[in-house]
Symmetry: C2
Subunit: 277 residues, 2 copies
């Protein structure tokens, strides 16, 4: 019953960065397993000339596939949407889908302002994010333990359990000041929390990982070493989890999760208040 794989050109068009429409479009497309999509993102489409150019580019893809291209767009300006909708593609505009209902519901017209997706609307939230990103960089991998009382959360875990990207994401997306400290085999063999962690126990959050997945990741980095051996991966993970259990440190398995998901779950589990939107 599986149909032949078919190709489809997909365009993500935005009057802003295109990051949101791309994520949304990709999520929708991921629901269709048997279709192979060839995607392109066209950001910062803000005037008529640009919209005409995009429509032409979309039309150029017509005929390359068996079926017409699909366009996901976020264009606040109805004039630009109109130009794009004249192309021979299926155009799905996210503004168009909701803005009318919202105008009705809110009893007011929308401002049709462009590029609001990632506008710097809140300078304080912006400063929080920047400050948090710098904090994460300066407190990566066990650095800057003297400032741990300024951290909102301190991620701990074995090497390659996902600490660094999670810290950076928590900072960038949510404005949270995050540090991370590696549970090296040396730390783990002592079976006790190092003093900077012990002094900040309430701020700790553990990341753990399936030993086999860990072995794969470490092998890509340093193949054939003790560091990436199955036994070492198993032992480290077991000892780290024992440490979490012993000290009642909340923890999360990162094996099958994306950075976005790990960060969102840490936010949810810690109950931390985000500073950026």
């Amino acid at each position: 019953m599986n149909p032949e794989p078919v190709h489809r050109h997909v365009f993500f068009v935005s009057d802003s960065t295109g990051i949101t429409v791309e994520t949304l479009g990709n999520a929708l497309l991921s629901q269709f397993d048997h279709v192979e999509f060839v995607t392109a993102t066209i950001p910062f489409v803000t005037d008529e000339a640009q919209a005409v150019e995009v429509a032409a580019r979309v039309d150029a893809a017509v005929g390359e596939d068996r079926d017409r291209p699909i366009v996901f767009s976020t264009l606040a300006d109805s004039g630009l949407r109109k130009i794009l909708s004249r192309s021979n593609a299926l155009v799905l505009d996210i503004f168009q889908a909701f803005i009318g209902t919202l105008e009705q519901e809110l009893h007011v017209g929308s401002s049709h302002a462009l590029g609001r997706f990632h506008a710097v609307t809140d300078k304080a939230s912006y400063a929080d994010r920047i400050g948090a990103v710098e904090f994460a960089i300066n407190h990566d991998d066990g650095a800057g333990t003297r400032n741990y009382e300024d951290a909102e959360v301190i991620l701990i875990g074995v090497s390659r359990s996902g600490k660094t990207p999670t810290c950076v994401y928590l900072a960038m997306q949510f404005g949270i000041r995050t540090a991370n400290y590696p549970l090296t085999d040396e730390v783990l063999s002592r079976a006790a929390l190092p003093s900077p962690l012990l002094d900040n126990r309430t701020r700790l959050f553990g990341l753990t990982i399936d030993p086999e997945r860990l072995r794969t990741i470490r092998s890509e980095r340093r193949p054939g070493t003790a560091y990436s051996s199955p036994s070492r991966c198993r032992t480290e993970v077991r000892e780290a989890e024992a440490l979490f259990a012993h000290h009642g440190i909340p923890s999360l398995d990162t094996s099958a999760a994306s950075v976005e998901e790990i960060a969102s779950r840490v936010l949810l589990r810690t109950g931390l208040r985000r500073h950026a939107y």
Copy 2:
């Protein structure tokens, strides 16, 4: 003609992280200037019991405002959507809005798989992102110049022009290996590119900023110092821009832009191929 400010409770509900629905919802809401929204994000809603709980939480907000709450959701499962739609709110589901049209267009049913927004579908792209984030951290603020040939782009600019967050975002979102090097007043007074930059001239991208905005940012950090004085800010920006012009280095004004926007524009201007989606 301006109506009184009104309050509205808004919920962002997702079977995944909620990051996309939140961004999208906030962008739509930002079109309505006269309404004050009180927002909450409820991520990882994946079973019926959770959906029932969310519906109850939404209904608890009914009556707190003059008007009913608004729910933006991304729920791939139609059963969960149904539960939520029984609440007394305006429910706008992004899946519902598009999935039917897409099924028709693609001549196949969707898989209705949950949490696909940030799923780890592509392990290679995941590794690229993590590697790029670590590269950005290890090559922040002039560090690791010996590896500059491994950088895809090297951001240069005066202190507080936005280099660090842009590097981190380029790495996290697009998997691009980015370094950054500060144009200090010492560097600028020499009016010549330092040798690590000269050797990698084709990788350079300049960030510039309005001197008055720079003064504001620096003043928050170190008020009343020479570093944050209007004349120093003006001189540094002028000298940095002269350096960009002299060496034909492409550059971008970051004054009114968000990190997402700066990063997206750098990607577009450099023509770099992204490694992560």
